[in-house]
Symmetry: C2
Subunit: 413 residues, 2 copies
Amino acid sequence: MAGPLSDLHIVDLSTYVAGPSAALALAQLGADVVRIDPLGGATDTRRLPLAPDGTSLYWAGLNRYKRSVEVDLRTAQGRDLVRSLLACGGDGHGILITNAVGQSWLDYEDLRRSRPDLIMIHIAGRVDGKPAVDYTVNAEVGLPWLTGPSDSSAPVNHVLPAWDLLTGLHASLALVTADRERRRSGNGQYIRINLSDVAVTTMAHLGFIADAAVNGSQRLREGNYLYGSYGSDFATRDGRRVMVVALTARHWAKLVQLTGVGDVITALEHSLRVDFSQEQVRYEHRDVITALLTPWFAARAHADVVRELDDGQVLWGDYRRVDELGRHGDSPVSTSGLFVDVDQPGAGRYPVPRSALRTSGWEGPTPRPPARVGQDTADILQEWLQMPREKLVELQHAGVIAGASPRREGQLT
Amino acid sequence: MAGPLSDLHIVDLSTYVAGPSAALALAQLGADVVRIDPLGGATDTRRLPLAPDGTSLYWAGLNRYKRSVEVDLRTAQGRDLVRSLLACGGDGHGILITNAVGQSWLDYEDLRRSRPDLIMIHIAGRVDGKPAVDYTVNAEVGLPWLTGPSDSSAPVNHVLPAWDLLTGLHASLALVTADRERRRSGNGQYIRINLSDVAVTTMAHLGFIADAAVNGSQRLREGNYLYGSYGSDFATRDGRRVMVVALTARHWAKLVQLTGVGDVITALEHSLRVDFSQEQVRYEHRDVITALLTPWFAARAHADVVRELDDGQVLWGDYRRVDELGRHGDSPVSTSGLFVDVDQPGAGRYPVPRSALRTSGWEGPTPRPPARVGQDTADILQEWLQMPREKLVELQHAGVIAGASPRREGQLT
């Protein structure tokens, strides 16, 4: 079957990472996502990294599988058009994702007058209205002081916008749940998700807040060790790095066996009266374990380390550089089997993934370039609002809408 | 209304972060989640951080709002019990989340013989069956070489298990979508989600893979700078740190105004013939911007910096330490308003959050301690399987089930 959410018609008026990634996850499940793009595209359409022709590869990644209506959002007519797109249609319509701030024309109670069962997902920074982005909320939950080598004297930010991405998926889960509920009860829902709330509640789920409250938090920065169990990075003879983890007793047994440190470990266990098959014990003695294992890695070239770790069924990962994330033999881009090479006019040809969900019965959208800004303006206004052609031409000439492609059916000019 | 997913009855046979966080997100939306705990609890029930009495605060955080059935999963009778819990019940039953590896008694096709519309969410490491955990897949997608100060010579791991958490939310989104589809078509679904797939597809959504393929990736490690725009950390006179971001032209204008560098910036813009209101330009000139702004922060005490940044409407975040994540005046634990102090017998009293979703009409579960391992064994076998009391006693005496509390109704011994 086609994507299971193909009966959902979502208006996506969001920028940067959280909102667009929420809509992307839904589009990959088949939802019809209509981006509302301001004239010329929002600022994030020019965000780095860029292809040589100036196309934003970042924006392309997050905005694939969505259609685009290009509207002058500064005009009353443009805003009314968006409100009409939210008010129209049947069961699967009337759904908005937005991170727009302080836009009174998007007031939920006001929008509900035209569409009483509206579902609105409002992504924001903080509950008090103060702005926040991934990097500021990450600083506030304390992780940068726990990241990096133990002798660092400054906080170290993460590079993955994890809070944005988590907020996006919470938003998509909330949206599908709200639609499910609306189909049963007929009631819409306003759902506000603040980046700051997602960060601090997640820190609570992982035990950080309880640890601070109950123990005053004993956690220190400790480089690439894995807190609470055993995991460490090692350098190979030729200067490559691998991450090795022994989370379970079985992982640990395999690692000890491969590296031949069994006798020393047994002697240590006897003299210290501990059992290294317990993860807490491995964590406590992580420095001595690392010291014992380091020579094994330092004595071998990377290629041999890779082969032996695999053959020995050790849990490990290779430290790859992002520029190696192409179609190399053992890159996850190749081994996942999820990527399809896509030609994006102007930007070039590059691997684009299918959905990460491998299902027994669903088919997600086929990897393709994102819709250009305004590519679907005419189609959507005709489909959703049954707007007559003359009205489209009038709005286009007045500069309220833009972007109808001269080469596509439904062209306006 | 109660949680919108209160008609879902989910069997959660998962450990560590991804599976338990998936089930937690659903439980916070009202789903009835039944954890299957092996006798004495899985290894993650003893994971750090611990309360002084040995209770895992980590495990408590991820396993709240779930009921617990304690079963000897090594026995055929115990496995049959779990299979019965998956086969029983009406529309909202027949849903499994698991990260169990190589368990033939949990084979999807086999389970479907008793429950043809079963929904099974299978969380795994990699498509080829090789194990992977957050820290190994993170190494493989290249982020640790982009994290940390620009003069670092080694990879820097993240501390937040972001890939686990993202995988968990993808799983919860997939589950609700599968239930929605099943209610319409009657069809179940097998959904496999590999950590490695989530990581590499997310890297593609963010433009990393395209950048590598099209440009050979120009990204270098660059400390706490925000890639593609302007963001940097600054030290205050008294040695505290703040993260300051100018993502939009407005943020930039506010920052320039507050720090009084407007004239210098204008002169720079003229001489360089650039416009710093463009984020790409700010990114390109991040070092000179930081050099110009540093004295402002270095001249002021933290308390003054905080006040002036807030008054000046600058986008910023305070670098807090995790041990400051208690109920301090301006900690997000306090300011979010989401936390309730909960007494957890043995562990102590600490703040536990409500759901991060602020909704117009839903009520999530009230913060409370997690169910003890086996706390609901008798209740669930009676409710779900209508198991007679004699049978319960027999299974308990045979050691197949455990955990019925002697103080609760439905007690067995």
